[in-house]
């Protein structure tokens, strides 16, 4: 069972010193979640691979800008998110603006690992994810993939905390509706 390790010790300090083995460990840890996140946003395999590589290269160049080693994960996802945004901007902004709903959201206290999906629902879950507006999808992916806190998601997506809560609210509402119907 794949579970996000709590308080995992990542060799960020060694990576700062330029140790290739440390970078290898860090990239190995994040390569698949990062790819899943990027792919679910851009829906193109080669583009996603390119963006993951660009993210890794940018990380090796700009690690000096990371103030807190414990936030390496959210920092890395933040780089990837910015690269996805740049990609979207080149395509169209219309889809991005679809999910800007400014109603007051409810708080979410549930754990991402508590939501369990039956095998026969997996394909529908992936389809539902695709149907969500990109920024709602981004928030949900960050929440489910790496169990990031809302504050961290706000930092990664460079959005206000309220906006992130709103996006999360509507994304989860759609997911619940789907699970209840099935």
């Amino acid at each position: 069972m794949l579970v996000v390790a709590e308080h995992e010790q990542l060799p960020v300090a060694q990576a700062r010193a330029g140790e290739p083995a440390a970078w290898d460990t860090l990239f190995r840890r994040y390569q698949l979640p990062l790819y899943v996140y990027v792919f679910e946003l851009v829906h193109h395999e080669q583009t996603s691979l390119d963006l993951v590589q660009e993210t890794f290269i940018a990380a090796t160049k700009h690690l000096g800008g990371l103030r807190d080693d414990d936030k390496f994960g959210s920092w890395l996802f933040g780089i990837a998110h910015q690269k996805c945004i740049q990609r979207w901007r080149r395509q169209s902004r219309d889809e991005l603006l679809r999910d800007e709903i400014h109603s007051a959201p409810e708080e979410f206290a549930d754990d991402p690992s508590e939501l369990l999906i039956r095998r026969e629902q997996e394909a529908e879950f992936m389809n539902l994810l695709d149907q969500l507006p990109p920024l709602q999808r981004a928030v949900l992916l960050l929440y489910y993939l790496e169990d990031f806190a809302l504050e961290e998601i706000a930092e990664i997506t460079a959005a206000q905390l309220g906006t992130v809560k709103s996006r999360m609210h509507y994304a989860k509402k759609a997911l619940r509706k789907f699970l209840e119907e099935k």
């Binding site: 330029g18 290739p20 390569q31 590589q53 939501l115 369990l116």
Partner: protein, 147 residues
């Protein structure tokens, strides 16, 4: 039953091999950067020189490469023509064989006759001209009056 995370990661498991390749490339870039940082000052200056040359090549040569290629071709042609001309001259010089001693003797014979006839070859060498210091102008006037 699976969590959304498990579903998402398993859905994309097949791309792991490609991600491994990307990881290796990225780590290799880190190694390259470390090698550059660890390089001696000489190596660093060499790298800087290479960078400058590359930049010049990229910024100066590449944008107008057709013009540069034309100029280079013209120079090659000029050098080729010059080389060809020089070689032709040398060959022509080599073709001129030196005259035989008999011919040289025959050529010098009239000169010897002329010298014998003129007798100039037996005359002693003339004395070098005497250096006469000019007399003062007053003495020159006295001499003129006397004459």
């Amino acid at each position: 039953m699976k969590t959304p995370r498990e579903i998402l990661l398993q859905h994309h498991q097949q791309v792991n091999a490609k991600l491994d390749a990307i990881r290796h490339t990225s780590v290799a870039a880190v190694c390259d950067r470390r090698i550059k940082m660890d390089a001696t000052p000489d190596q660093r200056s060499q790298t800087a020189a290479t960078t400058i040359l590359r930049t010049l090549w990229r910024e100066l040569v590449c944008p107008s490469r057709h013009i540069w290629a034309g100029i280079a071709t013209a120079w090659v042609l000029i050098v080729a023509v010059n080389f060809h001309d020089r070689r032709g001259t040398e060959l022509a010089r080599q073709d001129l064989t030196p005259p035989s001693p008999e011919v040289l003797m025959a050529l010098r014979e009239p000169e010897r006759w002329f010298n014998d006839f003129d007798g100039s070859s037996h005359l002693p060498d003339a004395d070098p001209p005497k250096k006469i210091a000019p007399a003062p102008r007053s003495e020159m006037r006295n001499q003129l009056l006397l004459t």
